[in-house]
């Protein structure tokens, strides 16, 4: 993965992506002319200071926000042209989400939370349950499946969120500060799991993080600052200059 790889057809191909927000009548540019390729199986870490636009870029890649201009192709499909309904279906089948604050449904058990995305599929109840059992086993929470989120630690909740993110076998997993709310031990467990998703299951992962240790788990790190994307080498060059 790099700012613009021409060697092979990337899974995610971003060209000249621009995004700005309106605040009190003023247009605030967040992303300016972003160009990026992510290949299947890549584990990309996105770093940058607060307000640099890394979460915005992640949201655009995940199809939960739309750019002002530019091209964002996922496996050849320009997702910026999809309608809201088409995007929702696309997300349900293609993207797994991991949030900083887990975003689990507090009224559902761990099992039910993981099962939730599968209720949008045509799987039978038995098949759904088999999938959920497998996903919970993968994250090491089979014995906690009847627990509600409030009965789980932060690390356990994030592992439930990871199980939910992978339950539909998505091609892309996006993680927004997945260790941001965790202690070091829990963060390590979560990162190990993400490593496993990338290495063993070949998932493509894009992770936004402030945490250097978390970013180091990624296969590549890119930096976003003032709406511009750069590699570690670019950053190094800039610091020398």
């Amino acid at each position: 993965m790099n700012a613009a790889d021409t060697s092979a057809e990337p899974l995610i191909r971003i060209r000249n992506l621009v995004k700005s927000y309106r605040r009190g009548g003023q247009v605030v540019p967040v992303l300016t002319d972003i160009t990026l390729d992510v290949r299947t199986g890549d584990f990309l870490g996105l770093m940058g200071p607060s307000g640099s636009g890394k979460s915005t870029l992640l949201n655009l890649i995940a199809g939960i926000d739309k750019p002002d201009s530019g091209e964002l192709l996922f496996d050849g499909v320009d997702i910026t042209r999809l309608t809201e309904r088409e995007l929702a279906d696309w997300r349900a089948g293609t993207v797994g989400f991991i949030f900083q604050f887990y975003n689990l449904m507090p009224v559902l058990t761990a099992f039910e939370n993981v099962e939730l995305p599968l209720t949008l599929t045509r799987l039978s109840r038995r098949e759904r349950h088999e999938h959920v059992e497998a996903a919970l086993a993968l994250v090491g929470l089979s014995d906690r499946k009847e627990h509600y989120p409030s009965e789980l630690s932060g690390g356990q909740q994030q592992r439930v969120a990871i199980a939910r993110a992978i339950i539909t076998d998505p091609r892309l997993i996006v993680a927004d500060e997945p260790t941001g709310d965790l202690d070091r031990h829990s963060a390590e467990e979560v990162l190990k799991l993400m490593d496993q998703l990338s290495t063993d299951l070949g998932k493509t992962i894009v992770m936004v993080t402030h945490d250097r240790r978390a970013a180091d788990r990624a296969h590549a790190i890119m930096y976003l600052d003032k709406g511009e994307l750069s590699t570690a080498d670019d950053m190094h060059e800039r610091s020398i200059r």
Binding site: I64, D65, E112, L116
Partner: protein
């Protein structure tokens, strides 16, 4: 299944808030039901009126009587099957607050005309034999603990003096809505007594009750009767029994309108409370709804979750409120005694309660549901509950 699970668990998430909202709904639905029943009780007389029964009274006012001699003339009118008559007595039993209607009637024709008053034949025969006998309704008997053979002294107001009657029969209603709070006695007894005290008030009738052969001919027969007495000393006004009863209700119509209005104001108030509850709820869960949308659930699904929760809470409140309306209605009816001859929670009232609860549930969810459905995912995810 997951959908219903989410609705029910969300509805019970803030137990105190839900309990207070349900309590408000219970009070509102119960009050609405009782007030609607009061309105229904007001119209009970009109509702039980038969379409073939007409009432002929003095055209000037009900307080002016008609001569007994009109009876045969009315009976001779084409389309008339039977004629009976009655006088309003307005006596006081023990205390003025023990109000109940008392009529001096011609018993045979009167009870023939009102088959809804079920009098045991042997008791009715005893009543016919006793000039001072009276027939009272079951509700009246129960209210004052009266039974057959008891003496009922009434203090006359229109017809002064103390009048003693012996309860000879107790009638039941053919239906629950039949008025069983009345008392009937012999018109002959009243007339004979009046003759002795004030001769010029004798042989006078308060109202004639006219049974027509065909309800479709009611208007024609009414006109014929009134034409018969045109330009006489006592001109008549004939109308259907329903119109006659509604005429009484009209005198207090402002009160009925006020009661009806208050019943709906109660619903509007609970709608505001419910809408506030749902707005707070949806605002707190904006991030959760955004997460559902991130996972691929449609905005309509999110709106349906809020709508479902709102309807579920409204349904719980309505179910309890409706269930309580019956015992509280019975208690209320016992407290007011014979003021409302018929005080029954009708099917129509229950249907209105259900409709109001459903309306509250739906309307309260519109604004928060729309907001949760339309808010941008990124804005929703940023929301802090």
């Amino acid at each position: 299944m997951q959908f219903l699970k989410l609705i029910l668990r969300n509805a019970l998430r803030h137990k105190l808030r839900t309990a207070l909202t349900v309590l408000g709904l219970v009070v509102a639905i119960l009050s609405f039901g009782l007030l609607q029943t009061v309105v229904g009780a007001w119209y009970a007389g009109a509702d039980s009126a038969a379409p073939t029964r007409l009432v002929t009274r003095n055209a000037i006012s009900l307080v002016f009587p008609l001569p007994i001699s009109y009876r045969e003339k009315i009976r001779a009118v084409d389309g008339v099957r039977a004629v009976s008559y009655a006088n309003w007595f307005a006596g006081v039993y023990q205390d003025p607050k023990n109000f109940f209607p008392q009529f001096a009637v011609e018993p045979r024709t009167y009870f023939d005309m009102y088959p809804d008053y079920r009098v045991p034949p042997d008791e009715f025969a005893a009543f016919l034999r006793d000039r001072k006998g009276a027939v009272i309704g079951r509700k009246l008997a129960n209210t004052h603990n009266l039974k057959v053979g008891d003496v009922m002294p009434l203090r006359g107001t229109i017809f002064p003096g103390t009048w003693e009657f012996t309860v000879r029969a107790i009638y039941d209603g053919a239906e629950a809505k039949t008025d069983t709070s009345q008392m009937f006695f012999h018109w002959e007894y009243l007339n004979e007594s009046v003759k002795k005290r004030s001769r010029n008030r004798a042989d006078q009738i308060g109202i004639y009750l006219v049974d027509v052969v065909d309800a479709d001919r009611a208007a024609e027969v009414s006109h014929a009767i009134d034409a018969l007495f045109k330009n006489s000393l006592a001109e008549t006004l004939t109308e259907t029994e329903r119109a006659f009863q509604i005429g009484f209700v009209k005198q207090t119509e402002a009160l009925v309108v006020a009661i009806r209005l208050v019943s709906y104001v109660v619903i509007v108030i609970i709608l505001a409370v419910m809408a506030n509850t749902m707005a707070m709820t949806a605002r707190e869960r904006l991030a959760e709804y955004a997460t559902l949308k991130v996972l691929g659930f449609s905005p309509a699904y999110v709106a349906a979750l809020i709508l479902g929760e709102s309807i579920a809470i409204a349904a719980i409140g309505a179910a309890i409120g409706i269930a309580l309306t019956f015992p509280v209605g019975d208690w209320f009816a016992a407290q007011v005694g014979t003021l409302f001859p018929v005080f029954e929670v009708s099917g129509k009232t229950v249907a209105l309660q259900i409709a109001c609860a459903l309306g509250v549930g739906v309307l309260a969810a519109i604004v928060p549901g729309r907001r949760a459905a339309t808010v941008k995912i990124v804005d929703g995810l940023r929301a802090i509950g």
